[in-house]
């Protein structure tokens, strides 16, 4: 925010940074090589729906677009905080296809002028012991962080920090730990 914005009390909506998202397939390979975690094939985009017809039209177009491909139909859920989640399901060995689908959602919203409504994208992983891990992409910062939920709204911080070490050279990891926001009950995770 510039001095003039502060003086006049205005904020400019933050546009999402979509570039870093395509680093995910490489990171998935590194994660498989360095740990026991494999992609589950599911990924989700989370955004805050704006009110009005303009947004619901775009949302409908995105769903139609994703359902046109031969994959499983995209699931739409709204969480307790009224954020919308689009969950795409691919096979576990096709992270590129998944990321392409996720990107289709982003670019549709951004082209419709609703880029600032994007919150995050999650790619889901699971290890042989059944532990789940999400790589969360923060659109506004263009950074990733690992999120490992345990039962009862606890998170496995040790695992998260371990994953940060493994992926540090492949992904831009969010340096500010205070921004590693927990997303309890994230659909698709």
């Amino acid at each position: 925010m510039g001095f003039l914005d502060t003086l006049l009390g205005r904020t400019r909506p933050v546009q999402p940074n979509l570039d870093e998202l395509f680093a995910l397939p490489t990171a998935a390979l590194t994660l498989e090589a360095g740990t026991d975690f494999k992609p589950t094939g599911s990924g989700s985009v989370c955004f805050r729906a704006a009110e009005g017809k303009a947004f619901s039209d775009i949302e409908k177009d995105v769903r139609d677009l994703l359902n046109m491909g031969g994959n499983k139909p995209v699931q739409v859920t709204t969480d307790a905080y009224r954020f919308t989640w689009l969950v795409c399901q691919h096979s576990g060995d096709d992270p590129e296809g998944l990321v392409t689908d996720l990107h289709a959602v982003n670019s549709s919203l951004q082209n419709g002028g609703f880029g600032p409504q994007l919150l995050c994208t999650i790619m889901a992983f699971r290890d042989s012991g059944g532990r789940s891990l999400g790589l969360v992409y923060l659109y506004k910062r263009g950074t990733f962080y690992p999120f490992a939920p345990l039962a009862g709204q606890q998170r496995d911080n040790a695992l998260e920090l371990q994953i940060r070490g493994v992926l540090g050279s492949d992904l831009k990891i969010e340096p500010d730990l205070a921004r590693w926001m927990p997303i309890w009950g994230a659909p698709g995770l």
Binding site: D5, T6, R10, R48, A50, Q153
Partner: protein, 319 residues
């Protein structure tokens, strides 16, 4: 470059700019007027009576002191006055809910997360304070947590976090600083006339102190009205930014209606206790429905004005 749907409001910006310009003009006039009075009377004076420059100096020091205190300790003062407690996400379901909403808003707005507090009062309200985003505190009362659903609460918190993003504590402190000095000078001049004037044998300083006092009174009154006007524009700006951040102006409107309707039914005792905090609050602890002359003294715009703006934003978003 993607197109944007988030049009700014040139009218609001122009009015706010004009208010600040007028405020600056009043304060420059105040300084020039003081300097002129001192020089003019100083050159006509025989003795070395320094009581009037001492008066100005004293008022300025106290004014700067109180402005700095409210600037640096705004968060502590507000927390202390409201009796609010800082909470972590593990302090129960209400705290977890508040943190989750604030987390998401911060991620949407790319803002560092402020501290989060809950005030143990049933009055439905919320406030944000702190001189910058690093020490900012966002506080909700227990009343508002019970009263509003997640959607509405998010609108209220987005409004409060817009105050933080706009650095309203800093802006309002600077804006009110010289108003405080003028008010102090009126008071000091009055006391000095009352207690100091009797023993003097020259009436030069009595001559000087009366115009200083009159000038200070005028500056104080005009700046008071301008500061209140500025405060109302900052509220509208925070409503606007908050509504655009969540994309849900109607949720904020619904929260405003619920909270304002409730504020009217609160017993007077609570209201008086809460009044010093009004500038920080989401909606003032006064009876709504005031009109005409009362609105120009008010820190917040009328409910109708706020709803009309949110309605306009809602229409813009659906286009």
């Amino acid at each position: 470059m993607a197109r944007t749907r988030y049009a700014s409001d040139p009218g609001l910006i122009a009015r706010m700019g004009l208010t600040m310009f007028l405020l600056g003009l009043v304060f420059v006039g105040f300084g020039v007027g003081l300097g002129y009075l001192i020089l003019y009377y100083g050159s006509h004076r025989a003795g070395g009576n320094m009581s009037d420059s001492g008066l100005i100096f004293f008022a300025a020091v106290i004014g700067i002191g109180s402005a700095l205190a409210s600037y640096y300790w705004s968060d502590k003062i507000a927390l202390r006055t409201s009796g609010a407690q800082l909470v972590s996400p593990n302090d129960g379901p209400e705290a977890a809910r508040l943190h989750a909403i604030v987390d998401r808003l911060c991620a949407l707005a790319d803002m560092p997360k402020p501290r989060v507090a809950i005030a143990p009062t049933q009055m439905p309200n919320a406030f944000a304070t702190g001189r910058n985003t690093k020490v900012a505190v966002v506080c909700a009362t227990q009343g508002i947590l019970h009263k509003l659903d997640n959607n509405e609460l998010e609108g209220v918190l987005a409004h409060e976090m817009s105050h933080v993003a706009h650095k309203d504590v800093a802006v309002m402190t600077i804006a009110s600083f010289l108003g405080i000095v003028a008010a102090l000078m009126v008071r000091f001049a009055f006391y000095s006339e009352l207690f100091g004037g009797r023993g003097r044998n020259n009436n030069q300083s009595a001559l000087l102190i009366i115009p200083i006092m009159l000038l200070s009174i005028v500056v104080y009154c005009v700046s008071f009205l301008l500061i209140r006007l500025l405060s109302r524009y900052r509220e509208l700006a925070a409503d606007r930014s908050g509504a655009l951040l969540t994309g849900q102006p109607s949720a904020l409107a619904s929260a405003l209606v619920k909270v304002t309707g409730d504020m009217a039914r609160i017993p007077m005792k609570d209201l008086r206790e809460a009044e010093p905090l009004n500038t920080f609050y989401f909606t003032p602890a006064l009876r709504p429905g005031q009109s005409g002359i009362a609105t120009i003294f008010s820190t917040h715009p009328s409910l109708d004005r706020r709803l009309a703006q949110l309605d306009k934003i809602s229409k813009q978003l659906s286009k």
